[in-house]
């Protein structure tokens, strides 16, 4: 046992107990509040982004919801989130929010880390007496220097050691298709996705497929036995992968939400396999999952990811088939979702859901996993540990519009590539750095590491720039979740703008100005620098080298946040303290 009983109870005490009928979600450090429940335990983590070691991770201070998504989870931040879920415990409040981040982080320590996660998983599986499954929602093979250099293999090894039973994917598909299949061959669990199929060209070219007759590239679902229960897990990969990420790595694979196909599959699986429970392991993003849950019947739960929402409760969604539980388990290995199900007469009769934060101070790391991580990192240590500069401000990314690390990237791009304007994608991964800490190469890689990191400079007209901003903004604020892609707003350096999230497509952005106040002229050309182009490969050096060179040169940086002016969002609970 790697965890002392008392440590373990403290850890568990930090989980929210939700879904207990007739009782408000409660917190306590007492074993009575974490009793064994039911006869099937589903453990779920997602979007770890290859973070093998504990890190800091600040949750967003701005995560606006529009339309039906306004003022409800996951679009609640800070105190709004804590009040909605009745959270009073200070440590848990720190895990779930951006509030007073720096001092709380120094007090409670780092989060995540696979060795810590492994210790928790082992204990929780032992407690369930073998009636458990470990599900990984994807975005596991990307997000660190070692994942990039080993083409995701370091994470396959870690997932195998962790005992992941089933996974689906998104950033997994940013390696070459043949590498993806090779990695899946090395993975001990099942890689599933019902919504990825071969294109007609792929079928015609005899590209590898799980089932050439149906076109499924991967197994659509898997049946797992856990204790006395038989569970069907259906995979839902990120439906917009070839749009949000380069199609060139996976030219024969086509994706989509495929709601009708999912409904058919759920029906067929229930009829043919007669499982005790049917679960969707989803990388849709929470807003898409909530809509999907209302329209597709027969799923007991959707365990979701992609949007990195640490939601401390399961949302019950009604549909024609009854009720479906929707969860989202945050990112970076910071949380472990624990869904305990009570299965009676071949159906789910009750549940409890807790989102457990993984505080590394409270968990004794698993020795085997620690050893593995040290071994994997060994050849790269020198490069990862290179000190680059000191930050005087808190560096983070999560926010709908801008993070300070993005500001740093934009500053570096503008200076090193001599551009008026810099653009940086609104990703949601990347770790946090506290004021006074040294930015090492590893930190830069954690914010930038991917398979299409090349930088570019291009001449763009003001009109083209507006088109880009409007396009990305619609992916964020389209009132129909099926038409969103789940990232945040493109980050801009060297310019400012005004955004009205409630306006229609093409009408949200106004008042575009350069830093000096001059309005951006639709007909005039501007020199723009950026990275991570989705279409063809850019010519410039990788963004991490540009940022590293800038930092070595500066020695000290202090980027501050410059949000655009936001209209019509007063009172929205996706912003504020």
């Amino acid at each position: 046992m790697h965890l002392s009983r008392r440590q373990f109870l403290t850890v568990l005490g930090n989980g929210v107990i939700a879904g207990v009928v007739g009782r408000a979600p409660a917190l306590a450090a007492d074993a009575a509040d974490f009793p064994r429940y039911g006869n099937l335990r589903l453990l779920h983590f997602t979007d770890c982004h290859a973070q093998l070691l504990p890190s800091w991770f600040r949750e967003p201070g701005v995560n606006l919801g529009v339309g039906a998504a306004a003022n409800r989870a996951p679009h609640l931040v800070g105190g709004n989130l804590l009040r909605r879920f009745n959270i009073t415990d200070a440590r848990l409040a720190h895990a779930l929010t951006h509030l007073d981040f720096e001092s709380a982080a120094r007090k409670y320590g780092k989060v995540g880390g696979f060795a810590h996660l492994a210790a928790l998983v082992k204990r929780l599986r032992a407690d369930a007496g073998g009636a458990s499954l470990l599900l990984d929602g994807g975005d596991t093979w990307q997000g660190s220097g070692t994942a990039y250099w080993t083409r995701g293999r370091d994470m396959i090894g870690a997932a195998n050691l962790l005992g992941v039973d089933v996974m689906t994917g998104h950033w997994e598909f940013t390696y070459q298709d043949s590498e993806v299949l090779d990695n899946i061959g090395r993975f001990n669990g099942d890689f599933i996705a019902h919504n990825v199929s071969l294109t007609e060209e792929g079928l015609f070219d005899d590209q590898p497929a799980h089932d050439a007759a149906t076109g499924h590239v991967f197994r659509p679902y898997t049946i797992k036995r856990a204790g006395d229960a038989r569970v069907a897990v259906i995979g839902q990969a990120f439906p917009y992968t070839p749009i949000a990420n380069p199609q060139r790595f996976i030219p024969y694979w086509t994706f989509g939400i495929r709601e009708a196909a999912l409904q058919q599959l759920v029906r067929r699986v229930r009829e043919r396999e007669k499982p005790d429970a049917v679960v969707l392991l989803s990388h849709n993003g929470m807003d898409v999952d909530l809509k999907l849950a209302a329209r597709v019947g027969g799923l007991d739960a959707i365990l979701g990811g992609h949007t990195h929402d640490g939601v401390p409760g399961a949302i019950e969604v009604s549909n024609a088939g009854g009720k479906t539980l929707v969860t989202n388990a945050g990112c970076n290995g910071k949380f472990l979702g624990v869904m305990d199900l009570d299965i009676r007469r071949r159906r789910v009769a009750g549940y409890r859901y807790r989102l457990l934060p993984v505080f590394s101070n409270l968990v004794k790391p698993d020795a085997e996993m620690s050893g593995y991580i040290a071994e994997v990192r060994k050849p790269y240590r020198k490069r990862l540990d290179e000190p680059l500069a000191r930050s005087e401000t808190l560096l983070y990314r999560r926010d709908n519009f801008e993070g300070t690390f993005d500001r740093l990237i934009c500053d570096a791009l503008r200076e090193r590539l001599d551009a008026q304007i810099a653009l940086s994608p609104g990703f949601r991964w990347g770790t946090t750095i506290l004021p006074g800490e040294t930015i090492r190469m590893e930190n830069v890689l954690d914010q930038t590491c991917m398979t299409y990191p090349e930088t570019y400079t291009a001449e763009m007209t003001g009109e083209q720039l507006k088109l880009v901003f409007e396009d990305v903004c619609d992916n964020l604020f389209n009132p129909d979740p099926y038409r969103q892609q789940g990232g945040d707003m493109v980050r801009a350096g060297g310019m400012h703008y005004t955004c009205d999230p409630l306006a229609g497509a093409g009408k949200r952005i106004s008042g575009m100005r350069l830093d000096d106040g001059a309005p951006i002229d639709p007909g005039k050309r501007y020199k723009v620098a950026g990275w991570a182009t989705v279409r063809s490969r850019s010519a410039g050096e990788p963004v991490w080298d540009v940022v590293a060179a800038y930092l070595r040169d500066r020695k000290t940086v202090a980027p501050m946040q410059h949000r655009p002016k936001i209209l019509n969002m007063a009172g929205n609970q996706g912003a504020g303290a």
Binding site: E201, Q247, P425, R428, V472, N475, N478, R483, G486, A532
Partner: protein, 150 residues
């Protein structure tokens, strides 16, 4: 060599299939004016000859919510109706809205699928003629620049 042998053969097959179309179909009146109309309302009225069109839930349009590639958007239309004579697929925001129009024989299943080019986000409209009457349905398909995924 970029083009694979199979692709060339497949191109040849498509051409051969076209040549095998039954004569009465090829003899159908080519709706020149409809294909050249620039406004969707004009296209529809030129296809229907001004007859009334009613929206109908029996028509199903299969298309992605967001296109993976605006240059080749897979679209399928099926109509759960009797005596379907024609199915036309239109894109509201395309410079020339009418993408294709299919004349069906009595024995064929009222279901067509094709790939269309879309300039920008638009409603895709299916116009179905069944037993002399016109019906329609539409679905919005988003065309995006892409990138910036979480």
């Amino acid at each position: 060599m970029n083009i694979k042998r199979r692709q060339i053969i497949r191109g040849g097959l498509a051409a051969a299939a076209a040549a095998l179309l039954p004569q009465p179909l090829l003899a159908a009146v080519w709706p020149q004016k409809a294909f050249e109309s620039k406004k969707v309302a004009d296209t529809i009225s030129s296809l229907t000859g001004g007859a009334a069109v009613s929206e109908d839930g029996r028509i199903a349009i299969k298309a992605p919510e967001i296109a993976e590639n605006g240059a080749v958007v897979p679209v399928g239309v099926s109509a759960d109706m009797d005596k379907v004579e024609t199915i036309a697929i239109l894109v509201d925001n395309n410079p020339l809205p009418l993408t294709s129009s299919y004349e069906l024989q009595g024995a064929s299943s009222p279901e067509v699928s094709t790939r269309i080019k879309m300039l920008k986000t638009s409603d895709v409209i299916a116009l179905v003629k069944a037993d002399g009457k016109y019906y329609s349905a539409s679905k919005n398909v988003k065309v995006t620049i892409g990138g910036c995924g979480g």
